[in-house]
């Protein structure tokens, strides 16, 4: 059992990993991520990539909704901006993937700032609806601006490439997606150790008080929007490289709701929660698929019920977590951790 930890310097107090146990577990986790693609089969590898993309986008939304308290129903739209940017750039310029992904993030961030502009005047649900309007407009642009986006047919793109290497298989994509996901989550963690991140949290807790304390609301709200959409843009770009096709229907409104649900189920305002939520919500349909395949010999109708079942489970998860566990999976995780670190002294 570990009891109390006295910190003797500010560095130690601010550190992300505070104890040696944490450091060991974190190193083991990274090692597992590295070894995973060599052991997993194609299906697991595919899932790993999907979870990686979801983690990036959920972390982005968590910055905006969980930490700054601004709800956004536009996450899928921002991802679409990133996806289309990557698709267009790789078709028309042939730039390598680090460049296209950064440009995708930047363009999405610019769109995010534009969408965030009303956030000084309207907030709460009105803001959610403003972002909803933005996602309607973005969908319209994706579908109608045919010379750039290819209309309803969308764009298909070449595999990601860098220095003559092409990343065609899921195996290759894993080594782009997962390191990026780790990097971006760590970056987000670092943001919340600076003035900027603390300003976000102050705005979430009470925006008027934050303003009185000298935080420029417009500035920081827009920054939060920009940061969040940058994450979404990168995730959308990876999505485009991974599926190698983008259409207006790749980024529907239900996807925005999916990411909001991931943030809530994971735990709002908790980066670990975002990761858990993203993984959990991505894997649920797959688990359900496995269940249906297992049940089909006994109930031949099982596959028909899968998609409605998924809708019901999805909704029930959102409602259930909000009513019974508002702090999400992260809280459950902490409870488990506390149990082990206090064992055997707590009943």
């Amino acid at each position: 059992m570990r009891i109390g930890d006295a910190k003797q310097s500010y560095e130690a107090d601010e550190a992300i990993l505070t104890s040696s146990t944490q450091k060991i577990w974190f190193a083991l986790f990274l090692l597992a991520l590295l070894l995973f693609p060599f052991m997993a089969d194609a299906y697991l590898l595919y899932l790993g990539c999907l979870v990686g993309i979801a983690v990036i986008s959920t972390t982005g939304l968590n910055i905006l909704t969980g930490f700054t308290g601004l709800i956004s129903l536009g996450q899928a739209g921002f991802m679409g901006v990133g996806g289309y940017t990557v698709a267009w750039l790789s078709a028309n310029t042939g730039l390598p993937f680090p460049v296209t992904l950064i440009l995708a993030g930047l363009l999405a961030a610019a769109v995010g700032i534009l969408v965030g502009l009303p956030s000084l005047r309207v907030k709460g649900l009105y803001l959610a609806i403003a972002t909803l309007a933005a996602s309607v407009f973005l969908h319209f642009i994706f579908a109608e601006w045919e010379s750039v986006t290819g209309g309803m047919g969308g764009l298909s793109l070449e595999p990601a490439h860098l220095f003559g290497l092409t990343f065609q298989s899921d195996f290759g994509m894993y080594f782009i997606i997962v390191p990026l996901a780790v990097l971006m989550v760590l970056a987000a963690r670092n943001v919340f150790r600076t003035r900027i991140g603390r300003a976000f949290i102050a705005i979430r807790d009470r925006d008027i008080s934050a303003e009185i304390l000298g935080i420029n609301l417009l500035h920081y709200k827009l920054m939060s929007f920009a940061l969040s959409s940058f994450y979404a843009g990168v995730a959308g770009g990876l999505f485009a490289y991974f599926f190698r096709v983008v259409t207006p229907e790749s980024f529907p409104l239900s996807m925005s709701i999916f990411y909001l649900a991931a943030v809530i189920v994971g735990g709002m305002g908790n980066l670990l929660g975002g990761i858990l939520g993203a993984a959990f919500m991505t894997l649920i349909p797959e688990i359900l698929k496995l269940l249906t395949t297992a049940l089909t010999p006994f109930y031949p109708n099982a596959p028909i019920f899968m998609s409605p079942m998924l809708e019901i489970i999805f909704g029930a998860l959102i409602v259930g977590f909000l009513i019974f566990e508002p702090h999400g999976l992260a809280e459950i995780w902490h409870r488990i951790r506390r149990f082990f670190s206090l064992w055997p002294f707590k009943n």
Binding site: L125, A128, F137, L260, F305, M309, E311, I312, G315, I318
Partner: protein, 292 residues
């Protein structure tokens, strides 16, 4: 410009707008009393329309029996939702409550798809088929009679809220909860009643809209148009919902007819964006003043 065509389109749009006003009214009642933005209203409409389908189509009841039954079922659903899922969220942040209603919407879509399947369906026709002419302008009979039923119910609602005991209790709760409590109004019951009445209006509109345009599990998307209506009108204003409902219905139909179906949503959302920028609390909504 062909004025006759414009007139016919406008008329159809205004009639559709009448139904939007009815749904908007249902939305505003719930918001006024409980401060909950109900993203599931489109799905409640859908559920009622499917109930109508089951009663009138599956069980072959007379449509005039099936309609009240379906509407009753829809309002009961609203009451149950409030009791089971919204009540425990009392005092939570508005983000959480909205997300609960989004979750409810998803559950309802799943349930409907499980019972009635995912394919689009047609409701048995129950409105008169004789074409309606106003002057020289033709109006599809389903839309015209749908509008008339909707308008009649709207009037009853307005009178009810103005004069009845329950209506006064609801308005009292909306304007000051604590004062309403101390005057002996059962605020919990008012909350529940607001959901029942709101869902009732939505359910009726749901059956009428589905009767003109068909029904599928994606029917709930109409909730997005209604969201535009209530934001433009002002979330807590009944008059606003009526005016904005008629206007948005008209705009959507005219934009669809002249620019093409893909312009319907962007046209109404453009109005929404302008309103949000210049009058964030809607045309008739109350401007909330915040204090620290």
């Amino acid at each position: 410009m062909d004025w006759l065509f414009f007139g016919e389109i406008s008329l159809a749009g205004l009639a559709m707008g009448g139904l939007y006003a009815l749904i908007g009214l249902g939305f505003v009642i719930i918001y006024k009393a409980t401060r909950v933005i109900n993203f599931a209203i489109g799905e409640i409409m859908m559920f009622a329309a499917y109930l109508f389908l089951a009663f009138a189509g599956g069980m072959e009841m007379s449509p005039w029996v099936a309609l009240p039954l379906a509407v009753l079922g829809g309002s009961l659903l609203g009451g149950v939702i409030e009791k089971v899922m919204i009540r425990p969220m009392l005092g939570e942040s508005s983000i959480s409550v909205v997300m609960v209603t989004i979750g409810i919407a998803s559950i309802l879509v799943g349930v409907v798809e499980m019972i009635w399947g995912a394919d689009p369906q047609l409701l048995p026709g129950f409105l008169p088929r004789k074409p309606v002419f106003i002057g020289e302008m033709y109006l599809a009979p389903k839309i015209a009679y749908g509008f008339l039923i909707g308008a009649a119910v709207l009037t009853i609602y307005l009178l009810y809220f103005r004069f009845s005991r329950g209506g006064v209790a609801l308005r009292a709760t909306a304007s000051d909860q604590a004062a309403a409590y101390s005057m002996g109004i059962n605020v919990r019951r008012v909350f529940n009643l607001a959901w029942v009445f709101g869902s009732l209006a939505a359910s009726l509109a749901g059956v009428l809209v589905a009767a003109t345009g068909g029904l599928s599990p994606q029917f709930g998307a109409i909730g997005l148009s209604v969201l535009v209506v209530v934001i433009v009108g002002g979330l807590d204003s009944i008059v606003g919902a009526l005016i904005a409902g008629v206007f948005i219905g008209w705009l959507e139909t005219v934009a669809g007819a002249y620019l093409g179906g893909e312009y319907r949503m962007p046209a109404t959302f453009a109005v929404l964006a302008v309103i949000l920028i210049f009058r964030p609390y809607g045309l008739f909504g109350t401007h909330e003043i915040e204090r620290v």
